[in-house]
Symmetry: C2
Subunit: 241 residues, 2 copies
């Protein structure tokens, strides 16, 4: 069975957390909105959101079709893929622990996004730039150290070694932490310049994930969308203090 | 076994979504931070967040102790309680569907909160009132209709009747939708004055949940914290247009 991922085609965004899990799992998938032809493209995505016949439409991308299952919400999709592809702990406590971490990652992602869009996601950045400066100043001074410090401490506290966030094996939340470090370094090169020393374990997690064969192949492929001034992690010179 | 809920004692906040599930389930629980004495109070909550010996500390409340399990993040806790207490579908597709809806509820809750705190959760409302006016105007004009319209359509599309969001039985997401309607009516009485006609099914869900024996008893008890100008759903005259 081939998975079908539905996400906006041109940005990494929240879809990227799902792509990383699919790629690491070596799971066959169609990135539907990036393909052309019948039943593909952004049209196919939008159709599924609004379809009258569909009694369980998702609120927003990303969502994943897995046979007859249609799963919405990034963390929900990752929980599903994690269980199916050995990217989650097998024991109950471990599963809830990893999912709690993933939901904390998603909270942080929303805060990073709101750094450049503190007023309305429907307005352009330049229409809320003054507020964005104020919110991002707080993000960099308070929220970023709080979240990254937390994740660093989770790696440090892991009684099964400091290579992964939970237990002795890779889980989906490690892939998401990789993406967060990558995104923040792109968006805030100045603010993050001293972060390598402060968040050593997170940075070395990032470096290790990057070298995993399937992830390395993915990052080198055209499937990996670059960061830009669209999506979650954006670089605006004036916000990077 | 008695559950232990950890949440800030004086506000409904995100903890309230968990309380509603515990109350509907008739599950015995201690609301730890509201109790006095050894191992209780806000101190006990803060201790668990920062404890050095704890290798799996939560990032923030609410979190739930269930025997040896410690579960963080509202939607994660609800997924756990739902499975244990018959407040979630039994089939896989249903479980992911309900959890996707719950995560969408939590996204909306974060947006409602940011209506009055668009710049920094660490600053007072009055230090970001100008930005809050702008953000709440967008919330009421665009985001609230989008989310409530979505939930209304989910009730309308439910092929098993319009009483619940998913299938023919109550699930934890119905309890959360109840809380959202209650909170919005408190926070925005003017903006919500015509909502009863627009979101008929959501409003009648709210009315039905309110009359369920255990929920009715809970709402009449001192355990139910009222809304105020703390927490997520706040009433500020100037924001309610």
């Amino acid at each position: 069975m081939k998975y079908e991922l539905y996400y906006w085609p041109t940005i990494p965004g929240r879809g990227e957390f799902v792509r990383l899990a699919l790629e690491e799992a070596g799971a066959p998938y169609r990135d539907v909105a990036r393909q052309a032809g019948k039943g593909a493209g952004v049209r196919a995505l939008v159709r599924l959101l609004g379809e009258r016949k569909n009694d369980k439409p998702p609120f927003a991308p990303p969502f994943l079709k897995a046979g007859r299952l249609l799963i919405a919400q990034t963390a929900n999709i990752l929980q599903f893929l994690g269980g199916r592809h050995g990217l989650a702990p097998l024991d109950e406590a471990g599963r809830y622990w990893v999912q709690g971490l993933q939901l904390t990652v998603m909270d942080f992602v929303a805060e990073v996004h709101d750094g450049h869009h503190p007023i309305a996601s429907g307005l352009y950045y330049h229409d809320q730039e003054q507020e964005a400066r104020r919110r991002t100043a707080d993000l960099l001074a308070n929220r970023l150290p709080k979240f990254l410090g937390y994740f660093e401490s989770i790696l440090a506290r892991n009684s099964r070694g400091h290579r992964y966030a939970a237990g002795a094996r890779l889980t989906y939340v490690d892939l998401s932490l990789f993406q967060i470090v990558a995104g923040l370094r792109y968006a805030f090169p100045r603010a993050m310049s001293r972060a390598a020393r402060r968040y050593r374990k997170l940075y070395s997690l990032h470096a290790r994930i990057q070298e995993r064969p399937r992830i390395a192949a993915y990052l080198a492929s055209p499937r990996r969308a670059g960061f830009s001034t669209d999506g979650i992690f954006r670089h605006y010179e004036e916000l990077d203090r």
